[in-house]
């Protein structure tokens, strides 16, 4: 039987993987698309249309899109999850 892993470690690992993935897409996007427009982080901050700009754009956007719910997960786990849901 497989040994067991602590949940939080594992989930954070998954989160980091997905954020990295978004960064990689940003990086490759700058390679694949010729002459892209400069991205605007959160529709606000203008970033340079370079590999760096797209990596930051991808990673930060997805980091937030998934990070805010993840913070919710942490909160809910601490305060709500004590009461077991019926199944």
């Amino acid at each position: 039987m497989a040994r067991s892993h602590r949940g939080p470690r594992f989930v954070v690992f998954l989160y980091a993987g997905l954020v990295t993935f978004a960064g990689v897409i940003g990086l490759l996007f700058s390679v694949v698309v010729t002459d892209p427009q400069p991205p605007r982080l959160l529709f606000l901050v203008s970033l340079p249309p370079t590999a760096f700009g797209f990596v930051v754009y991808g990673a930060v956007s997805v980091g937030l899109v998934l990070g805010v719910p993840l913070a919710g997960v942490v909160y809910v786990s601490r305060h709500v999850d004590a009461v077991e849901a019926p199944e």
Binding site: G7, G72, A85
Partner: protein, 578 residues
């Protein structure tokens, strides 16, 4: 002359059918299958497995939900292999920009068939396999509410598959359809100078119609079963999550598939009898509305039960109950309802009324919320759990990962300005493959590995299971990420040839597909060898679910079955390997 020939043939076929019926009536005593007592005695089937006939006859005549589940499974896996081989040929062709291995038209045929095979002959049936085998066990029912309708529903599938694949068989003058799985008119109506007026397209449409009838019959059966056949201690409040998703999915099928059937009949009429629904002055866009009114619910028909599988299996290996069970059920129902309100997001680029477009955009964004709720609950379940990374668990986690990527890329497509740029590019192909392969098929694998001990009575080789998972996780992400990037670069979908600048990404995608192919070979090898000579399951609780109080009804059934089998002289062998 020709007429008499045909009459003779018809009479001959009639006699043949009567002969078959007579033969079946002789070899089979149908009455023996009637469940006595109307199924209120609980837990007992009226016919023991020793009453089943042996060999092939058993499988041709069975009305036992477990046998039918296995038939669905065998059928679905066969279709998966066929569809997989088709796509491997396509990916080989796409290894270089020119037309090399196969002709462009043959590529189109494979493309069409791959999509239809995977969605209608693998996706829906493999879900029906799990549902048939396990829903009655999970809800404590004797069998399905209508066992014979259950058998009929399955037996419509093989002829359906033959019709769908007919174009590839050596039949003179019949060529495979090249319409794409969406069968857009006017191409699919056979107009113009193309070759899609060929009978192969008609046969495919008829085959699709059969699979739709099959799915509808199955769905009615599941709804009735879950409503009326639940055991005494199974109430709505403690109905398991997988049965909930099957119930919702069946509802969707009942509303969506008959519509597809009607649209197909209209198309057949247009093709063969000169009606004017979609051509001859009718509207080709009408087809798209009808098709996607079915088509978008279809994607949820395919994804809801896999979500149910993950919701069932993931907590078992997190050592705790599913977090927020109620909300998972509510979001299942919400998705079921909303899924009928988003179809036109597939038609943003067709020039429909912009006001309509934006309302569909709004609903499409809204439907992401219940999906996000589920993901939230899976993650929270893991967060407070202790994870055991068995093969089924790995596939569940792979599901969550790929579903997030597929979902996020989908939300972008739902935004009209983005869609107008990415529509009909490889981005769309990448998006939905993250879901259909990366998520749905992964969940199917999780189910197959999780319940392997139940239906095979033996254990698979764990190492090979893990290798399979990692090859698929890497392969699917390499392939579908390359597709997303191809889409950004402007590569249109559905082409056998392409501009040289796309070569590298296409080669990467083909390489990823090859990695998945190797994973698939290992999976088939593992399942076949383990089924035949894997170590017998010695314990009715192979996943140690009892420790955490997480055992569900089907494992309790498994334990009873093993005990009774031992008590009456150890027929485990027979019952388990067949």
């Amino acid at each position: 002359m020709a007429i008499t020939g045909q009459i003779a043939l018809t009479v001959l076929m009639g006699l043949f059918l009567v002969g078959v019926a007579a033969w079946l009536a002789r070899v089979e005593n149908w009455r023996s299958y009637t469940p006595v007592g109307g199924g209120t005695t609980g837990g007992e089937t009226a016919y023991g497995s020793d009453e089943k006939p042996a060999g092939l006859i058993r499988w041709l005549t069975t009305v036992d939900h477990k046998d039918i589940g296995l038939l669905y499974g065998a059928f679905g896996i066969t279709a998966f292999v066929v569809g997989g081989l088709m796509v491997m040929v396509m990916r080989l062709e796409l290894f270089d920009p020119e037309m090399t291995l196969i002709s462009n038209t043959y590529y189109n045929s494979l493309l069409t068939s791959h999509g239809i095979t995977m969605l209608f002959l693998f996706g829906t049936p493999i879900i029906a396999a799990f549902a048939n085998y396990f829903v009655p066990l999970l809800i404590g029912a004797d069998d399905m509410a209508f066992p014979r309708i259950n058998a009929i529903a399955f037996w419509l599938l093989p002829p359906g598959a033959l019709l769908i694949w007919a174009g590839f068989l050596p039949i003179p003058e019949v060529i495979p359809a090249q319409t794409g799985w969406t069968m857009y008119t006017p191409l699919s109506a056979g107009v113009g100078s193309g070759n899609q007026a060929n009978a192969g397209v008609d046969l495919m449409l008829l085959g699709l119609h059969l699979t739709g009838v099959s799915a509808t019959m199955g769905a009615i059966n599941f709804v009735t079963t879950i409503f009326t056949e639940r055991g005494e201690n199974v109430s709505w409040a403690n109905l398991d999550i997988f049965s909930w998703t099957i119930l919702t999915q069946s509802g969707l099928i009942i509303f969506a598939f008959p519509l597809l059937g009607s649209a197909i009949v209209m198309l057949l009429l247009d093709r063969n009898f000169g009606t004017a629904f979609f051509i001859n002055g009718g509207s080709p866009i009408l087809w798209q509305h009808l098709f996607w009114f079915f088509g978008h619910p279809e994607v949820y028909i395919l994804v809801l039960p896999p979500m149910g599988l993950v919701s069932l299996i993931l907590p078992r290996f997190s050592g705790r109950r599913l977090f927020g069970f109620k909300f998972v059920v509510y979001s299942t129902l919400a998705i079921g309802v909303l899924s009928f309100g988003v179809w036109a997001h597939h038609m943003f680029a067709t020039g429909i009324d912009p006001r309509l477009r934006s309302s569909f955009m709004a609903v499409s964004l809204a439907i992401a919320i219940p999906s996000a709720v589920k993901t939230f609950n899976w993650i929270t379940t893991m967060w407070n759990g202790r994870l055991r990374l068995t093969t089924p668990m790995l596939f569940c986690i792979g599901f969550v990962q790929n579903f997030i990527i597929g979902g996020v890329t989908g939300v972008f497509l739902a935004s009209i300005p983005v869609d107008l740029i990415l529509h009909d590019t490889y981005y769309v192909v990448g998006h939905f493959h993250y879901i259909v392969m990366g998520a749905i098929t992964f969940a199917g694998m999780a189910g197959l590995y999780y319940w392997f001990p139940v239906f095979a009575g033996r254990m698979y080789q764990r190492r090979l299971g893990k290798i399979h998972f990692w090859l698929w996780l890497v392969g699917s992400n390499v392939t579908f990420l390359a597709m997303i990037l191809l889409g950004y670069g402007g590569m249109p979908r559905r082409y056998a040839t392409y501009l040289p600048q796309f070569a590298t990404l296409h080669q990467v995608a083909s390489l990823g597909a090859l990695v998945m192919f190797v994973g698939g070979l290992i999976w088939v090898y593992n399942f076949v060898v383990s089924w035949l000579e894997g170590p017998r399951v010695e314990d009715a609780d192979p996943w140690n679910l009892k420790d955490n109080g997480l055992r569900t009804n089907e494992w309790a059934w498994f334990e009873r079955k093993r005990e009774t089998a031992l008590a009456d002289g150890g027929e485990v062998d027979e019952a388990d390997t067949e």
